[in-house]
Point group: C2
Chain length 398, copies 2
């Protein structure tokens, strides 16, 4: 099979987008990625296909065919264009489909742009929008939301494995610390661990969102876009940057209704997706140097770090306590700041994770660099774990 | 490159869906396609990926991750799943991406299901929903709609090429006649040509929708779903039905804003997409035995029949007048009844066109069979021609 690499990355500053329309925001990330790859937007651009990852372009922004709008705005016509939706895992799904397009031989270069403009709607509308990814008859119509599921899941993990609120806060503080060195992160402040856990005012500055989850245990609502330019490894010489190889992609679905799962504290789709990605890459968990895990809620980073094989079951929170997931630790997780501090514009997230891994493997992650990183893993989590994509990137030997 | 074929097709009755939820409707088409291929829904089903094509699952049905819901309902977990959106060309785009998944070697069998449940919203809401595919700043926000564009486009073709209202009606009547023999078509009646054009009550029974377009010159609003099971030709022996080969796929984008096009009566993306598909298939327009062209408005069938090379520019309406596009004519078009009479559930349409071609090439199109058909062409039209996919299917020699 034809090998595929990444030759360009782009990323808007996550947070409140104030630079124009939804298409403009996608464009900003795309232009940066094309520029990074040294692509000139003339007749010889060589881009065959544009894939946009978005969950809410229709639902929130009332725009269909946004990929067609983007390909035209970028002046890439007649390149083909599609929009890909897989809830909050839309980004990694689009990268996967771009990979397939190149591996098939039908395309040589595919631009993948993920984006979401969520801050045009109010808080409860945002929660409701996100909840549309739940089971429409078994969950959504009873008023269930993602924070509600995450709260229940956290409670179970607390009872079964002894995870504490402070463990969640430790993961959160680590990610906020990492975000301080990521110029595109949404939230650039580091909460004080004592103040948000043990201080007498902890309940005030870190109130419950969905018991036992507090504000500092869940991701913010962000606008943002991220872009990667994929190309066939055998066509990479025409780009400026040396490609980072996509070594493995794994994906798996789980029951759509969370209540139907055999072990409610497992994230089966994460495990299966990671296993497939390792197999395809010919790597093991211990070969990974840096990881971006989908911490829409802090408990997810902990359990995912177990499901992907970094730690034994029930040991993820202990590892976090011991600093093993910090930069400089055994396996740095969410060096970008993660969804918690970098932000989580749904369709952008899976692409943003890949952008961070590319920067780490290139050695361009100033201030948050994992020294000598050669292999990175990203986990992008759709629904409440009903559709998960794991992607492994590697730096080719010099 | 690995060859890809179609081994199963399924199709709900287009019209008003009353069989349950949106997911249920997708399921109905999917199960029929799997059954047609002889797939048993046990552990050995062998389906690697499910792609759902839909434009309005979020916007109209307020459901995200519908592909994840479908893969679970069909009990195909942990098969992967994504939703593909490219306006009314979502269906053909999903077939293309399914083709790439198999051609890449990462998948052996991919289920593609297109569907739209539009009749849950009112008439003007439906028109507005469809209009979300127009340019958000240059068109949609000024109140432009698809029928408005089609009306202006028709007027230009009338002035330039001498197309008449009666020509549109002739195309319409032909498609309604074909639909009489298609059990899954939405509208099963044949309008009387004299009554809708020359009778003194013609204005009453065939009123204007968007001058010069009348009711019988535009497609209805339909619910419906269609499904195809794609598989690698080298893995096809395990399925019941002999595969129909996907011989060529072409796609092209055009300016998103219609006003920016050089020649307003051209459909450039149709021409480019068809040229690419012919090239990939190694075929010419005269090799095609049967075609499904995207007649959301009757004028589109006429102009598309020119752009794909069946007729000279400006001659499509003459050919229709002369019966050359009827079954038995030189090149039968829209034997299924087309969007006009079979219906146009947006995301379903591109898949539905492929289903009809498979039935024709298998010799299973009872009552509307094109005898000896060996090659078929489908054109699926996104936006007002800003993103078009052409697909060529061929019957392998015995």
């Amino acid at each position: 099979m034809r090998q595929v690499g990444i030759v360009g990355v782009g990323h808007t500053k996550f947070g409140k987008w104030s630079g124009g329309t939804f298409t403009d925001m996608l464009c900003a990330a795309a232009v940066e990625a094309l520029d990074d790859a040294g692509v000139k937007l003339d007749k010889n651009h060589g881009i065959d296909q544009v894939l946009v990852a978005s969950m809410g372009s229709g639902l929130v922004n009332r725009q269909s065919g946004v990929a067609s709008a983007l390909v035209d705005t970028l002046n890439l016509r007649p390149a083909t264009a599609e929009t890909i939706e897989n809830g909050p895992a839309s980004g990694a799904s689009a990268v996967k489909l771009g990979y397939m397009a190149i591996a098939s031989g039908l395309c040589d270069a595919v631009l993948v742009v993920g984006g979401e403009m969520m801050r045009v709607i109010s808080g409860w509308e945002g929660t409701d929008f996100v909840a549309t990814m739940l089971h429409p008859e078994a969950e959504y119509n009873y008023g269930l939301t993602l924070p509600a599921f995450a709260g229940m899941f956290t409670r179970l993990c607390m009872e079964k494995y002894g995870v504490t609120e402070k463990d969640l806060a430790i993961v959160s503080v680590k990610n906020h610390e990492n975000a301080m060195n990521n110029p595109v992160a949404h939230i650039r402040l580091v909460p004080n661990l004592y103040a948000i856990t043990e201080d007498e005012d902890a309940n005030v500055i870190n109130p419950y969102v969905a018991d036992p989850l507090r504000v500092y245990h869940v991701c913010p609502v962000s606008d943002g876009a991220a872009a990667v330019l994929l190309c066939a490894m055998d066509k990479a010489e025409r780009f400026t940057k040396k490609p980072i190889k996509i070594a493995g992609i794994g994906q798996a679905t789980d029951t759509h209704a969370v209540a139907e799962r055999e072990v409610p504290t497992d994230l089966l789709a994460v495990r299966l997706a990671a296993q497939k990605a390792y197999k395809m890459a010919g790597l093991k968990p211990e070969d990974i140097d840096v990881a971006e895990l989908h911490d829409a809620f802090q408990i997810l980073e902990i359990v995912e770090s177990e499901e992907v094989g970094f730690f034994e079951r029930g040991q993820g929170h202990i590892a976090a306590r011991n600093g093993e997931t910090k930069i400089g630790g055994r396996i740095p997780i969410n060096t970008s700041g993660g969804l918690k501090a970098k932000g989580h514009p749904l369709g952008a997230t899976g692409v943003s994770q890949i952008v961070e891994l590319v920067r780490q493997l290139r050695g361009e992650a100033a201030g948050r660099q994992v020294e000598g990183a050669k292999a990175g893993l990203a986990v992008n989590f759709g629904g409440f774990g009903n559709n998960v994509v794991a992607t492994i990137l590697t730096k080719e030997e010099e």
